[in-house]
Every structure is written in structure tokens, then in C-alpha cells.
């Protein structure tokens, strides 16, 4: 309790924080274990899966909140850039279920065979609910789909994984969330959305009309990506990629992998002949790994909506697999797209993370770099996007547009060092720092390495 006491005092709390006496809890738990453990065990078997999903939701709720721009279109909350090409797939019919205290509305939905993106609103109906609507746990959802297991009873439902985060709307009696069913186990015609605060059985039925998708059969093995991880975490590093499914919204990869840490590196050949990397166009949203079978799935959401007509082929292990199903062909390995490392530079300020060497990063990527040492200013260009940075200035110019940075770049060892985020955002590259845990328990130490870069 000492830590919470410290936070309590620092925040100006009255007296001491309220809490329970652990001895009383312990006595209650021990007394219960002496009486009806069997009954409780059976109860928890049913609840466990839901609880784990709720934990994922809780983590998501701790994440970033969204801007207060109120829109019904779920695409605007999940995808960057121009979302107009996805509008034809949006179901904008609001569906509501009401209980005694709350109403749950799925405002709109859009998706494909494995993912459904929604905006939902919870509205307080009763006076009691109006006093409780802003409690942090109100956004605890469940998403259910019809069970298809052989032993499932007719009409039974099973929970599926999801992610959610709140959309700040400043409404007094309602709250809005973006909600996505991720990585559905199989295609469904309908899913059901529930709010944990509503009565049992109250759920919104959402028809699922998947956007068109294309599945490309691959069946090729190679070395996966395990950048920044110690060899002990990745096994052989070999990955068998079985198929890649693309929709305007997501990319799903089915594979066999020796370790959950190994990731596929796939590229998209665009219709105009250019190549897009994973780092450029998609973000990982989940996946599964079965240790016994090594069956693995990886799920990615596109950063911007992709029309399938704009993608000509998937490139895996230096072979190009056309979306039209025609024969795969070898492609020359593009060394400029291989992962590499750059030095870890010192933090830019007390309280910041490590920084990256700007010139080294730009030149290793194959970009162009120029520096005015007298002004402490550098201009670096990659993928046609120019970032101008200045030592001591927290504002970068990205193609002439001002972009705020968490800390100002600084001169270190005669060169400019900057935080990694501006490069991630402007150039669509992955930057993460290598770290290895040495030892176990209280004696474990983290050894920080260089920055790992995935173009």
C-alpha cells in the first residue's frame, strides 16, 4: 500500500486511500475454500474465456483516446487518409438494444471475413445509470459469434477477441467507443455485441456482409523476421507461409512457425509496379500460435484502405504471387528493404527514451541527408518525404508541414540525434530497440542494444 499512499499524497488526496484489510480478505478466501471449492471451480471454467477477453479490453481502454470529432463512419476511426473507397461496404443502419438502465447501439459496421469494425454507443436511461455512465469500466464489452464446434448446442454462442477504445464525445449521458472484432475464427453471417452492464441476453445483432477478399496460396518456407530478439526466443527462425488473404481493410497470414516470436515479412507489389512493405502499409493487430501444431496466424490492419485492384501481387521469400492466381515468379532480392541496425544514441532529455542518429538512419535507408552544422539543422529525404530537423527545436517540418515532437533533437558526437517517432510516422518504417533480459527474477537485468530498423 506504500506506493499508493505516496501517489495519494502527491495528488493531494484526503487522509489515506480507502482500501480493504488483506487479512480479512484472506480469512474470507480461506473459509470459502474449506467449503465449496468444487462449485466455484465449475463456475469459473465458464467465465475464464470471457474474463481474458475483458482483460484485453481493459488494456485497450488504457490506450490513447480519440479526438472529439463525432462521426458515424467507422472507417474514419480505424483508417488513415482517404476512406471513401471503403464506404460502399459500410452498414450505416443503427441497431439498438435497450435494458432497464442502458441502451447499447451499434451505429455502423464494416469488415471482411475475419474482422469487423464498429462504432458503438452506450446510453444511460435511468437516473441511476446517468450517475454511473462515466465509470471507467462501463465500456466492458463482449462480442459473440455462433458456435460452430461439433459439440456446440444449436444456437449457442462463443466469445471472440476484440479491441476497443473510447471516442471522446463529451456527452453527458452516453459514451461512444470504436470496437473491432479481431481475427474471427471463421466467417460468420452475424455477430452479437453485448455491454457487460446490461441484463443477461441483451445484445445487438449485427449482420456481417464481408467486403470482397482475395486469398493467395503461397506454400513457401524461409527465414522469418525476428529482428531485435535473442536467438533463444525464436527457435530456428524458419517460417512456412501457407496463404495470405487480403481485403480492403486487412491482411491475414496463415503459417507454421517454430516460435511465436518469428514474424513473416511480406511485401505488396502494387499495380503501378512499386513495392510496399509491411511497415509502410499495415499494423499488426493480433494472431495466434499453437505450440503443438505450430499453426500460426498473423493479423494486420491496413493503415489506409487498399482497393484490391491496386495490388498486383504478394511477395514472399523473393517470389511474387499474383492476386489473379497465375504462376508465381522469382523476383530479385531488394537489399534496401532488409532489416538493419543503427546505433543507440543517448536520451534527448531527462525522462525521454533513447534517440536515433539521424544521418546514419537516413543514409542506411538509402535516403539523402544534408546538414547545416552552423544552424544545427538537417534535412533528410526518404520515400519522397523530407523531414527537416533542428537541434533544440521541438517542431519538425515534414514536407513543409510543422509536426510536434516529444523532445527537441540535439547534437551528439557531432551529429544530430532525434526521437524515433517522426521517422516512423513520416517514412512508414518500423523502429524498435533491441533488448535482452539477462537472468531471472529480482536479479534480471535488461541489456539495451542498437535500434532495429525495418524499412
Amino acid at each position: 500500500m506504500a506506493r499508493l499512499d505516496k501517489l495519494w499524497r502527491a495528488a493531494g488526496g484526503p487522509g489515506t486511500p480507502p482500501g480493504l484489510d488483506a487479512r480479512r480478505v484472506k480469512a474470507r478466501v480461506n473459509a470459502a475454500l474449506d467449503t465449496d471449492e468444487t462449485e466455484r471451480k465449475g463456475y469459473m471454467t465458464k467465465k475464464l474465456r470471457v474474463a481474458l477477453i475483458a482483460a484485453a479490453a481493459a488494456v485497450a481502454l488504457m490506450g490513447a483516446a480519440f479526438a472529439a470529432n463525432v462521426m458515424w463512419d467507422p472507417l474514419a476511426y480505424w483508417f488513415q487518409g482517404d476512406v471513401s473507397s471503403g464506404r460502399e461496404y459500410v452498414d450505416s443502419e443503427a441497431r439498438t438494444v435497450s435494458g432497464q438502465d442502458y441502451a447499447l447501439t451499434v451505429e455502423s459496421s464494416v469488415g471482411d471475413e475475419r474482422n469487423v469494425f464498429m462504432t458503438v454507443t452506450i446510453t444511460a436511461l435511468s437516473d441511476k445509470a446517468k450517475t454511473f455512465i462515466h465509470a471507467s469500466s462501463i465500456g466492458t464489452f463482449d462480442i459473440l459469434v455462433p458456435a460452430k464446434e461439433p459439440d456446440a448446442a444449436d444456437g449457442s454462442l462463443r466469445p471472440v477477441g476484440f479491441s476497443s477504445s473510447e471516442l471522446k464525445t463529451e456527452q453527458e449521458n452516453s459514451r461512444r467507443f470504436r470496437l473491432a472484432a479481431n481475427d474471427l475464427p471463421y466467417p460468420v453471417d452475424t455477430l452479437f455485441v453485448c455491454c457487460s452492464y446490461m441484463e443477461e441476453g441483451k445484445r445487438v445483432e449485427v449482420p456481417v456482409t464481408p467486403a470482397p477478399s482475395v486469398t493467395v496460396q503461397i506454400g513457401a518456407s524461409g527465414t522469418g523476421d525476428y529482428s531485435g530478439l535473442p536467438a533463444s526466443a525464436v527457435g530456428s527462425g524458419i517460417l512456412l507461409i501457407k496463404e495470405v488473404a487480403l481485403s480492403p481493410f486487412t491482411c491475414q497470414v496463415k503459417a507454421e512457425a517454430a516460435s511465436r516470436a518469428v514474424k513473416p515479412r511480406i511485401f505488396l507489389r502494387m499495380a503501378d509496379g512499386s513495392i510496399r512493405t509491411q511497415s509502410q502499409v499495415m499494423e499488426e493487430t493480433g494472431g495466434e500460435w499453437q505450440p503443438e501444431s505450430r499453426e500460426t496466424s498473423y493479423s494486420y490492419r491496413f493503415k489506409e484502405i487498399m482497393t484490391l485492384e491496386s495490388i498486383a501481387a504478394v511477395i514472399v521469400f523473393d517470389r511474387e504471387y499474383p492476386l489473379d492466381g497465375s504462376q508465381s515468379v522469382p523476383v530479385q532480392h531488394d537489399f534496401s528493404l532488409d532489416p538493419f541496425t543503427v546505433r543507440r544514441m543517448e536520451p534527448l532529455a531527462e525522462g525521454s527514451g533513447f534517440s536515433v542518429p539521424v544521418q546514419e538512419l537516413t543514409e542506411r535507408l538509402g535516403g539523402t541527408f544534408s546538414q547545416d552544422a552552423a544552424k544545427g539543422e538537417a534535412a533528410c529525404t526518404y520515400r519522397g518525404v523530407t523531414i527537416v530537423l533542428q537541434a533544440g527545436n521541438e517542431t519538425a517540418l515534414v514536407d513543409g508541414e510543422a509536426v510536434g515532437m516529444f523532445h527537441a533533437p540535439a547534437m551528439q558526437d557531432g551529429g544530430l540525434a532525434a526521437g524515433p517517432q517522426v521517422f516512423r510516422d513520416a517514412w512508414g518504417i518500423d523502429i524498435h530497440i533491441q533488448r535482452e533480459k539477462l537472468g531471472q527474477g529480482a536479479d534480471a537485468e535488461i541489456v539495451w542494444g542498437d535500434w532495429n530498423i525495418l524499412p
Binding site: M1, R3, L4, L7, W8, A10, A11, G12, G13, P14, G15, P17, P18, G19, L20, A22, R24, V25, K26, R28, V29, A32, L33, E37, R40, M44, K47, L48, V50, A51, L52, A55, A58, L61, M62, A64, D101, K128, T131, H134, A135, S136, S137, T140, S196, Y197, E199, E200, P347, E350, G351, S352, G353, F354, I433, R435, K437, A442, I446, W448
Partner: protein, 170 residues
């Protein structure tokens, strides 16, 4: 016994979770029962839990679900008579004030920008070691300490703006 250690370690955290879910006026008896049920669930499920996931998040989710179940069964009321009887007049108001502040503090932590919210939550509420949290979010330990310090100040500011601290009152 491992369960005893878990009860000692996580009771403060879970009571904060449950009070936040049930509301400041929830009785200590109700909160104690929900927290106890979460530990019983942990004991029942101990063989099925993935140690890599950590049990704190699991416990919190179970506790939150149980709090919701409890509210469904018996919506939160004002402080019950037995507690009111023990704490008359100003003492009762003080207790309610502390619980309301605890809720406001929790919400303020949730409003901190990433990664500060996560940092504060894991360090102060979940009792994790700073070096483990720093590793997970890619900071050095000194940097994480510095962020915690700034986050404490930020929380005070948020709560003062909300009119819940002496600073605002004065």
C-alpha cells in the same frame, strides 16, 4: 502458500479496481466479497492460467466482471446502515470523500497520455518493479522515474482543476 501471497500483494489493487467499478458508495462489505471471489477464481483456475500473461490483469478482469455481476444483482446504494452506524456525521462524509477522490484519481490516471498512464498504473496500483515497466515501454529506469515524477504533478493539476483537492478549495 502462494494464494496468501497473492492476496497480500493484490488486495489494494483489486479493491481500487472494484471500488472504481461499483462506485464510491459501494459498501466495504460488497467490495470485500467481490475481491475475495476474484481470489477464489484465481485459485480455481490456477492450473489453466498462462504465467506469461501475468495474473494481475486476469484478476482485475475477473474482479471487474464480478463487480458488474454484483451491480446487476443489487444496484449500488448509498453507504449501508452498518457502516453509517460505525461512522457517524463527519466521519461518514470523510469516508465518502476519500472514495470519491480514489475514483477521480483512477480516472485521472486513465487520462494521462501514453506511456505515462501505463507507467503510473503499473507502478503505483499494480506494484510492479520500475525496471520491468521501463523495459516494456522502452525507457531507461532514470527516464521512467522522471516520468513518474512529472505524472504525479500532472495528476495533482488534473485533480485540482476538478475541484477535488485542497489546492482547488483554497
Amino acid at each position: 502458500m502462494a494464494l496468501d501471497r497473492a492476496v497480500e500483494a493484490y488486495t489494494p489493487y483489486l479493491s481500487a479496481v472494484v471500488w472504481n467499478a461499483m462506485g464510491a458508495s459501494a459498501s466495504a462489505e460488497d467490495v470485500e466479497e467481490v475481491v475475495s471471489d476474484a481470489f477464489l477464481a484465481l485459485w480455481s483456475s490456477r492450473e489453466r492460467l498462462d504465467p506469461e500473461r501475468g495474473i494481475k490483469a486476469w484478476l482485475a478482469a475477473v474482479a471487474r466482471n464480478k463487480a458488474v455481476d454484483r451491480l446487476r444483482a443489487a444496484p449500488a446504494a448509498s453507504l449501508p446502515l452498518d457502516e453509517a452506524g460505525e461512522q457517524s456525521g463527519g466521519a461518514l462524509e470523510d469516508e465518502l470523500e476519500r472514495r470519491m477522490f480514489a475514483q477521480a484519481l483512477w480516472r485521472a490516471v486513465e487520462e494521462l497520455p501514453p506511456p505515462d498512464g501505463q507507467l503510473v498504473f503499473r507502478f503505483y496500483y499494480e506494484g510492479e518493479r520500475l525496471k520491468d515497466i521501463a523495459r516494456d515501454i522502452g525507457l531507461s529506469v532514470p527516464a521512467a522515474k522522471s516520468r513518474l515524477c512529472r505524472a504525479r504533478r500532472k495528476l495533482k493539476e488534473i485533480l485540482e482543476k476538478g475541484g477535488l483537492t485542497d489546492g482547488a478549495a483554497g
